[in-house]
C-alpha cells in the first residue's frame, strides 16, 4: 500500500498529466525529489519546465508562482518546512490572497502552497511549526489539512483544481501512514468539507491533520470508561464546515478541540467561539481546547510535553464530562 508521501506524489503526477498548465516550484523538488521525496521522479518524467528547482528564497518562490498564475499557469509550490513559510508572508497574505479581490475577479490565482507542518519528528527549531491560523485569518485564502493517505491524494487534486489559492498543510509526522488510494475521478465527487470519522454520543472531539490519529486513539480509550466520543476531522480549515460541526455538537453537547498550534488566537478559539454562538443552548460544558502551549516550539526532548497527546485529550474529555475534580484550564491548555 502506498504511503502518504506516495499518495501526494501520485496526486501531483496525475495533476501534471491532466493539465499542462500545472507546474511545480520549490527548493530541491527537482533532481532530489524533495527533502521528503514527495516530488520524487516528477522532474525526470515531466521536465525541468514543469518541475522547477528554485533558488533559496521563499518569497521569490511564491511571488514567481503568482506571476505564473497571472500568465494562466496553475502553480503548486512546495515550502520545504513550515517554519520557512514566514519569509513568504507578504506574498501569501497581501498578494496571493488578495489579487482576485484587487483585480475585481479578473485575475485568478489558482496556486497551491504545500507546507509539511507540525511536530513530533525530533527536528531542530523551525521544522515543527503549525502556522495555519495566520492563513485561516487571511481573507482570500483557502486552507486544507488532510489527515489520511486517501485525503492527501484527493484533497491535493481538489486544491490544484480550485481557482482560489489554497494553503495545503501536510501532516509530516503521518507521512509514512499507508492506505489504498482512491482512483479515477473520485476526487471530483465530493466538495472538500469536514468528515465525521467516528460516531459517538457524549463528546465531540474536533481535530485536523496529525491530531486526528490522536483523537481516534482517545476515542478507543474512552470507550473503556463508557464515554462515547464523536471524532470530526475538519479537513478544510477555511472554509470551516459549520454544518458538520454544529450537527455533532447539538447531538453531544460537549466539545474538545485539539491542535498542535498554540492556544491563543488559534483555530481552536475560532471554533469554540463559533460553537458557542451557534449552539449555546445545547452545550453542557464550555468548549475546551487541548493545544500546544503558548511558547515557542520547544527542543525535541520537550516536544512530547508540548504536543497534545492521548492523556491530555482524555483529561479534557473527563472535564467536559464533569468526571474530574481538577480545573480544566491547567491541564487542557
Amino acid at each position: 500500500m502506498p504511503t502518504m508521501i506516495q499518495a501526494l506524489n501520485t496526486s501531483l503526477r496525475d495533476a501534471l498529466t491532466d493539465d499542462e498548465k500545472v507546474v511545480l516550484l520549490g527548493e530541491d523538488i527537482g533532481t532530489l525529489g524533495g527533502v521528503f521525496r514527495v516530488t520524487d521522479g516528477l522532474k525526470s518524467q515531466f521536465g525541468e519546465h514543469r518541475v522547477i528547482d528554485t533558488p533559496l528564497a521563499e518569497s521569490g518562490i511564491v511571488g514567481t508562482a503568482i506571476g505564473l498564475a497571472y500568465r494562466g499557469y496553475r502553480p503548486v509550490v512546495e515550502i520545504q518546512f513550515d517554519g520557512f513559510t514566514y519569509p513568504a508572508f507578504d506574498q501569501l497574505v497581501s498578494q496571493l490572497a488578495k489579487l482576485h479581490y484587487r483585480s475585481r475577479g479578473r485575475v485568478k490565482m489558482p496556486v497551491t502552497v504545500r507546507i509539511p507542518f507540525g511536530g513530533g519528528i525530533g527536528s531542530p527549531e523551525h521544522h515543527s511549526e503549525s502556522p495555519e491560523a495566520y492563513f485561516v485569518h487571511t481573507a482570500g485564502l483557502r486552507v486544507f489539512a488532510p489527515s489520511t493517505v486517501e485525503d492527501a491524494y484527493t484533497m491535493l487534486r481538489q486544491a490544484i483544481d480550485c481557482d482560489d489559492p489554497v494553503i495545503f498543510f501536510e501532516p509530516k509526522r503521518r507521512y509514512h501512514e499507508k492506505a489504498e488510494l482512491p482512483y479515477g475521478d473520485q476526487w471530483r465527487d465530493e466538495a472538500p468539507c469536514a468528515r465525521v470519522v467516528r460516531r459517538g454520543d457524549d463528546v465531540t472531539a474536533i481535530g485536523y491533520g496529525p491530531t486526528v490519529y490522536t483523537l481516534n486513539d482517545a476515542a478507543v480509550a474512552a470507550e473503556d470508561e463508557q464515554i462515547s466520543m464523536e471524532v470530526i476531522d475538519l479537513r478544510t480549515l477555511d472554509p470551516l464546515d459549520w454544518s458538520t460541526i454544529t450537527q455533532s455538537v447539538k447531538h453531544t453537547g460537549r466539545v474538545v478541540i485539539v491542535h498542535e498550534a498554540s492556544a491563543q488566537g488559534g483555530l481552536g478559539a475560532e471554533i469554540a467561539a463559533g460553537i458557542t454562538e451557534r449552539c449555546f443552548d445545547y452545550l453542557d460544558h464550555a468548549p475546551l481546547r487541548v493545544t500546544g502551549f503558548d511558547v515557542p516550539y520547544p527542543p525535541s526532548k520537550l516536544e512530547h510535553h508540548h504536543l497534545p497527546d492521548l492523556d491530555r485529550v482524555l483529561h479534557a474529555v473527563d472535564t467536559v464530562m464533569r468526571r474530574d475534580e481538577v480545573t480544566a484550564l491547567g491541564a487542557a491548555r
Binding site: V23, S59, T64, G67, Y70, R71, Y73, H100, S103, G105
Partner: protein, 369 residues
Amino acid sequence: MSTQRMDVDAEGLPTHQVLSTDGERIPDTELDHYLANLTPAMLSDFLRDMVVVRRMDAEANALQRQGQLGLWAPLLGQEAAQIGSIRAARNDDFIFPSYREHAVAWARGVKAQDLLSVWRGVTPSGWDPYQVNIACQQIVIGAQALHAVGYALGIKFDGSHQVAFGYFGDGATSQGDVNEAMVFAASYQAPVVFFCQNNQWAISEPVGLQSRTQIADRAHGFGLKVWRVDGNDVLAVYAATKAATEYVRHGLGPVFIEAVTYRMGAHTTADDPTRYRTEEQLDKWRAKDPIDRLRKYLEKMGADLPAMERRAEEAADQLAADLRAAITSMPDPGPEALFENVYAEPHPLIEAQRTGYLEYLATFEGQDA
C-alpha cells in the same frame, strides 16, 4: 566616449543622455540606432503624452485637495521616464507597475477616471489587466518585481517573444523581493525588463541612504544586463528601453534599467517634502525638466512647435475636463461590493456574512437617517 556622465559624484556606469538640458542632440553610439526612425509625428506624440499626463497629475492633485480623492501619488517630474519606457514596449508586453506609474497605465489605454477611481476609494482596481496588458498597481514596495519574473517565466515556457516589465523605484531596490526577483530572473534567464525610476527619494529618505553605489550597479552583481539612463530625457529612455526589449527578445536574458529622474512633487498628497528637502535642490532639477527639454529640442530642429503644443494642450484640456466630470459624479459602491470577488469559487462564510449584513441593513429601510 560619447555618453555624458550626468551624475559626476557617483562612481559607476555612464548615464546615457541624448538630449542635453538645452535640447541639444548628443550622439550616443549605443542608442542612436534606436532613434534613427523617429518621425516628427512620434516626437509630437511624446510631447503630447507628457503634457497630458502632467495635466492628469495636476488635476488629480487638485481633486484630492478638493476632497474628491482620498490620496494621490504625484508623478510630476517622471513623465519622460514613464512615457519613454512604455512607448518603447510592444502592446503585448505585460507590465507590472507600482502605485506611481500613472503615465504608464494611461499610455496603455487605462482611462484617467478608471485610474483615479482606486484613489477615490470606490474600487480596489480600475481596469482589467488582460484588456490593457498592465497589472493592478502595486502598493507593497517591490512585490510586483517577482510577479513580473513569474509572468516572464510563463512567456518563456509558452515560447512567446513578449517581455514582462517590472516597474519600481530606487527605494524598492533595498527590498528583499526585488533582490529575489533579480536572482530568479537571472537564474532562469527570464524575459523581463526591470525598469527602476530612481527619483532620488523614498518618501523622505534620499537614495544615498538606500545604496552607497549607483542603483544600476546593484543589478550587475546579479548578472543582469544594465543600462543607466537620464530619466528626464524621453528619447534616451525610449532608446534604452528599445535596446533592452530587443536584448530580452533575443533570449539574452533579463535587463535592468535605472532611469535617473526626480520626484518633483510630494511622495503622496499626505506628505510634506519641505521637511526634508530644499528649494535649491528642486531648482537644480527644474532646470532638467523633461517637457521643457523636448520643447527646446523640437524648436532647435525646426519642428512646428506651436502646432504640437496646441495639439498637446487640447488633449490635456479634454482629459482634465472629462476626468473632473467623471470623478465628481462617480457614485459610491453599495455595501454588497464588500463581499464581491473575495474568492473565485463560492465561500460559505462570505455568503453568510453578506446575507447577514444586507438583512441587517434592510431593517433600517424606511427609517429616518
